[in-house]
């Protein structure tokens, strides 16, 4: 009997079987993740306001956005933040990974210590950095005044000159470990024989890095840059704790702007529309970035 069932399976049947295996997973994903997502995208095309009805409004939200100074300003801040944090994170992560890959003593201890910042939730990182930056009791002001670098304590997070650098430092600090961890894993996969061959040819350390390490790490770099770009562009918790987007909207990243629109001012539809635009921006960036990366790999 069992045999007859097996024997009668056609390729179409096999597809069905695969579908059956997937379904128990797919149904919850569809219901709990996909449907809310679709609903979120839809709300971006409505005039939904807190306390009001939800009416389809087509592209109205996007037309408003075109002329919305506050929106463009926060997009500008968002790109600046994302670019600087991602670049620093990649650079410092690579240096850290190379150091950890030198086979020094206690490497595993260093690796664990390195991961601590990343293991903290962004809110906790924010609270910690807020303490460090505090104008009255913060460690940073204390150290700088005692070293005689500054006379009066600086209110880092409220200053128009320092707020953005301050949140960037806090952001990079938390994100470097992720990059370093990925890079370290990548470094471990490069066959030692490549380096040996290069050494026989008399290649310098820099040339070995430039011509062996970097090309071999390309796929991992592509992954880390993509993930970091998405993650940093969508940053919220850390900045919310540190500056709430201030002073004067100087650190209002797009996600904070969307949050304010929905929860402070009640424009839920418009906030969802900002979310939609952010998804499109991230997709476009990733599309071109990965296309270039993949082309170089196959070529």
């Amino acid at each position: 009997m069992a045999n007859s069932v097996t024997l009668t399976r056609t390729p179409r049947n096999r597809n069905l079987d695969q579908l059956q295996l997937l379904l128990p997973i797919m149904v919850p994903v569809l219901l709990l993740s996909f449907i809310p997502l679709i609903r979120g995208i839809y709300i971006g095309f409505t005039d939904y306001e807190l306390g009001g009805q939800i009416n389809f409004s087509g592209l109205d939200n996007y037309r408003i956005m075109m002329q919305d100074r506050f929106f463009w300003r926060s997009m500008g801040v968002g790109f600046l933040w994302t670019a600087i944090v991602t670049a620093l994170q990649i650079g410092l992560g690579m240096i850290l990974a190379l150091l950890l890959n030198q086979g020094l003593r206690w490497t595993s201890l260093y690796s664990v210590l390195m991961l601590v910042p990343w293991a903290m939730p962004p809110i906790v990182r924010g609270l910690m950095w807020r303490q460090i930056y505090s104008p009255d009791t913060g460690a940073l002001n204390l150290i700088l005044t005692q070293m005689g670098i500054i006379d009066n304590p600086i209110n880092w997070l409220a200053s128009f000159e320092w707020a953005l650098p301050a949140i960037i430092v806090a952001g990079v600090w938390g994100e470097v470990p992720k990059a370093a961890l990925f890079f370290l894993a990548g470094l471990k996969t490069i066959p030692g024989s490549l380096y040996e061959a290069a050494e026989l040819d008399g290649a310098s350390a820099f040339r070995k890095f430039r011509h062996i390490t970097l090309p071999m790490m390309k796929p991992i770099m592509a992954a880390v840059v993509s993930l970091s770009f998405m993650w940093n562009f969508n940053a919220f918790g850390l900045i919310w704790i540190l500056t709430q987007g201030g002073p004067g909207g100087l650190t209002r990243l797009p996600m904070l702007a969307a949050y304010e629109e929905a929860f402070r001012y009640g424009y839920v539809g418009y906030a969802a529309a900002i979310g939609n635009v952010m998804v499109i921006i991230i997709s476009v960036f990733l599309f071109f970035y990965l296309k270039v990366q993949l082309k170089e790999r196959t070529g």
Partner: protein, 454 residues
């Protein structure tokens, strides 16, 4: 038979998936239904009351009064939920949208206006007792009553601001503090601040500042102060539309502060980027001779934290062309979706009875709204500054922005950021005026299009 078994084997996955989705969908529908029901069905169980009292004594008093109610009303219990000012907004917004909202909640008059415009709030006017209506100050009612007569919240504490000063530093510098009969003008403040700004160790760095003011989110302070300068930022134009203008009175107000901060250098620059609360430790440390605008509640912090031998006092409101100040009060409201509004209001009347109002005000060190409480002898005490706080009741007035659709957004989107840039020294007063007028138009336009009416 065989075919049936093989069919089941074949389609087992589909069946399981179907069952799973049925379960999840039914949960979803059940959730939606209960959310809807909350506005239709009669609820039982305790009424939920969200309190934002946070100073230790105030929390205690709210708890005591609630317990008292629960003892006297076994049939209608009230469950106290302790909220916090920093999280209450998101909590309430999500509550209103899902229908899961406390039956009575504590917030402030300036913001519940926005909730009322979104039809979240119940009209409490039919339930207010004659005694309460007559005892609470008229200006307080004016700030929570819509043009239709609906009352959206019961005001019970006035967020009036006070001027704190350090009498020891005044005596040392030979400055005589003003009296209720002879209040200071801003010129007097400027002059006194000059004498009170001192470089004690002669290293060229000022150690003691004449004045201090927390300037981080200072829109509230400046809106309320603007009235004493004869301004108000918001004006009615000929067609009855509201228009934002930064004219001479408003410029004078900003200029008065800027003079101390940038020209005389008698106002502590550390106030830029700090909240009012964050100025108190510096005042206690003797770094500031005056804090020119502080919440009356801050006196509780002083009593609690002042070191041995530290003295403080409250001076009468500083006079520009008048001593008037804009009103903002703490309120108790009931959401529209509450099915037991009458009972909820009964509890509010109990919590805010004449006697309890006085207790709440004293425990929170804030000016009450009831005339009988303000007249209480304990609120005439001089040493704790209560006499001056009580006097403030005469200076309260309702700004033209009260009830204006979009004011909450205007304050955090236009006013606060612009003031922050101004006090960081990055803008001139003319630029402030130009920017506030330009940005106000675009922010308020969205609300005017919708034709919302207070």
């Amino acid at each position: 038979m065989n075919r049936a078994i093989s069919w089941i084997l074949n389609y087992k996955g589909f069946i399981i998936a179907g069952l799973l989705s049925a379960i999840i969908i039914s949960f979803y529908i059940a959730g939606e239904l209960t959310a809807r029901n909350s506005s239709g069905e009669v609820q039982t169980g305790p009424l939920r009351f969200l309190s934002l009292a946070w100073q230790e004594d105030a929390v205690k008093v709210v708890n005591e009064i609630t317990d008292q109610w629960n003892q006297r009303h076994p049939e209608q219990q009230v469950e106290l939920i302790q909220g916090s000012w920093s999280a209450v907004h998101d909590f309430l917004i999500t509550g209103f949208e899902t229908g899961d909202i406390p039956d009575i909640f504590h917030y402030e008059s300036a913001i519940i206006v926005d909730f009322a415009l979104r039809n979240y709030l119940a009209d409490l006017s039919p339930y207010i007792s004659k005694e309460m209506r007559e005892d609470v100050l008229e200006v307080n009612w004016a700030s929570v009553t819509r043009s239709s007569g609906e009352v959206i919240g019961i005001p019970f504490l006035n967020a009036s601001s006070i001027v704190l000063y350090n009498p020891d530093l005044f005596a040392e510098a030979g400055v005589t503090p003003p009296t209720i009969e002879n209040p200071w003008t801003w010129d007097d403040v400027h002059a006194a601040a000059e004498k009170l700004t001192i470089d004690r160790d002669g290293d060229g760095v000022t150690d003691q500042w004449g004045t201090a003011l927390g300037l981080r989110n200072c829109a509230n302070i400046f809106m309320n102060l603007s009235i004493s300068f004869g301004g108000s930022f918001f004006y009615n134009d000929d067609q009855g539309n509201i228009e934002v203008r930064v004219g001479e009175p408003e410029k004078k107000l900003l200029g008065t502060m800027a003079k101390m901060l940038f020209i005389d250098k008698t106002m502590a620059p550390s106030g830029v980027g700090k909240s009012g609360t964050e100025m108190i430790p510096g005042f206690l440390a003797g770094n500031y001779a005056m804090v020119v605008s502080s919440g009356a509640w801050a006196r509780q912090q002083l009593v609690e934290n002042a070191g041995e031998g530290f003295h403080w006092a409250v001076m009468p409101p500083i006079k520009a062309i008048s001593q008037s100040m804009g009103i903002n009060s703490q309120t108790l409201s009931v959401p529209n979706s509450c099915t037991r509004q009458a009972v909820a209001m009964e509890f509010i009347q109990f919590l805010l009875s004449a006697e309890n109002s006085t207790r709440l005000a004293i425990s929170d060190w804030v000016l009450p709204t009831r005339k009988s409480s303000i007249a209480d002898p304990r609120l005439q005490d001089v040493a704790s500054g209560w006499n001056i706080v009580s006097q403030n009741a005469q200076h309260l007035s309702v700004g033209p922005w009260v009830g204006l659709p979009g004011y909450v957004e205007w304050k955090s989107r236009v006013a606060n950021p612009t003031f922050q840039e101004f006090f960081s020294g990055r803008m001139s007063i003319e630029e402030v005026a130009e920017r506030i007028e330009r940005e106000s138009a675009s922010v308020l336009a969205r609300y005017q299009v919708r034709g919302l009416k207070w």
